[in-house]
Amino acid sequence: MKKKLLPFIMLALGFGTAEAQSWKLVINKTDGQTVELATSDIQDIQFVSEEETPPTLPDQNIDQIIIKEVYNGGCPKDEGTGSFIQDKCIILYNNCPQQAVVNNLCFGFATPYNAEGNNHCYDENGQLVYDAEGFMPALNGIWYYPYSLVIEPYSQVVINVHGAIDNTQTYSQSVNYANKDYYCMYDPESGYNNTGYYPTPADVIPTTHYLKTVKYGQGNAWALSITSPALFIFQPQGVTPVDFAMNADNLWYEPTVAQTPVYACVKVPNEWIIDAVEVFNTAKKEDCKKRLTADLDVGYVYLTNKLGHVLYRNVDKEMTESLSENSGKLVYGYALGVDDSTDPSGIDAEASIRNGAHIIFQDNNNSSEDFHERQKCSLR
């Protein structure tokens, strides 16, 4: 539950009328202190009930959390004039029959932004220069949950990356994120405040579902690639996400590039990384280069962007069929792949889930085997 008060206060005070007068908000606290803010510095005022703040819980089954879907490529506009790309999301999944709990879960992507971009990270032996040091360079900024994230057994959580609204009102092939159970990356005070990418989230999304960020790079929106990101989730060990990402000792730059915010990365130790996926651009196959190291992920999944396609995790057929509770609930004949890219299990995961089945997804640290390109995001 959240209540926005500022518009009413400003209306009552006649703010914005012809009379030139400046106002400030004065808060008299019970401890005797006073806080003053100029109304021009305030976007809105919200009262959030304390019971909505999730409790802190101990970590549990973190290693069972996987990236189930990445929708980053955008979709066609209805009028057929270009594409809409401000509607990205990531879907995580608990791949086990027990509850998963993770504190300080973070999201990052590797440099360079696009797989087909200039990659200065390879040495003369064809090795990524950070491979031997055991870290991944997270470019631009990281997002994090400021509390415990709980994922129920064989269940998913939706994290909107850009445009946490009902985008289908404008573009019918986009995604409706107006859902109370969804989370969103929304932290305009960080500097990620481009309203094209970060409209005020749908009212039904609780403010407690807003993720926080540490921005150390350039730009006013987290620059998750629309063609080919190398995305990973991680949990800092022994340090908060803020302290980790704000520590100048953790900054890193690709060899030969200017050491400016444009190229700023933080070094995420590989042992912190829970899951990762590497996406290549179908339109520029010959230019794509791996960014994830082999211990994290050895493959890649192709994406043709701007068509509403999504990268979707393949079903572990043997493990899923071995679950006795799935008897008679699995739906076969999956047909939502793109060209040669499909789920080789033949199991329609979404239809099976709707049928009450428990899906175990494949997790071989190999995006080539673990993912396929799907015609549309499962939220559509």
Partner: protein, 115 residues
């Protein structure tokens, strides 16, 4: 001589030898491990390792990327584990005047299977 200089069909033999550094996790049970070789046009060549852990490819000169990925489940203990054996070696230059023999380090990771 590793390469032919026949202009109509100039091919070279590339040897990719797998090395395992994390001996504590062992090696894949199957000695013949699949190795993929990708050229700059994303065309894939496939071979399996021999007893010397080497895969051999007969390919035109060019720049290639080799990779391997194998997995198995250890269900002998109370806790089941999935072992992944992944390796990748990029920017392999194959040419008639090169040795055309590279090592590819295979990284071994494991993950719990919660049942």
């Amino acid at each position: 001589m590793a390469c032919s200089f026949d202009e109509s069909m100039e091919l070279c033999e590339l040897k990719v030898q797998l090395t395992y550094q994390q001996a504590s996790f062992g090696e894949p049970e199957n000695a013949r491990v699949r190795v993929e070789l990708k050229d700059q046009n994303a065309q894939i060549f496939v071979d399996s390792t021999d007893i010397s852990r080497t895969a051999r490819f007969i390919v035109p000169p060019g720049i290639y990327e080799a990779s391997t990925s194998a997995a198995y489940i250890d269900s002998t203990e109370t806790t089941w584990w999935r072992y992944n054996f992944n390796g990748i070696r990029s920017q392999i230059i194959v040419s008639p005047d090169s040795l055309n023999q590279v090592e590819m380090h295979v990284k071994v990771t494991r993950k719990r299977i919660v049942r």
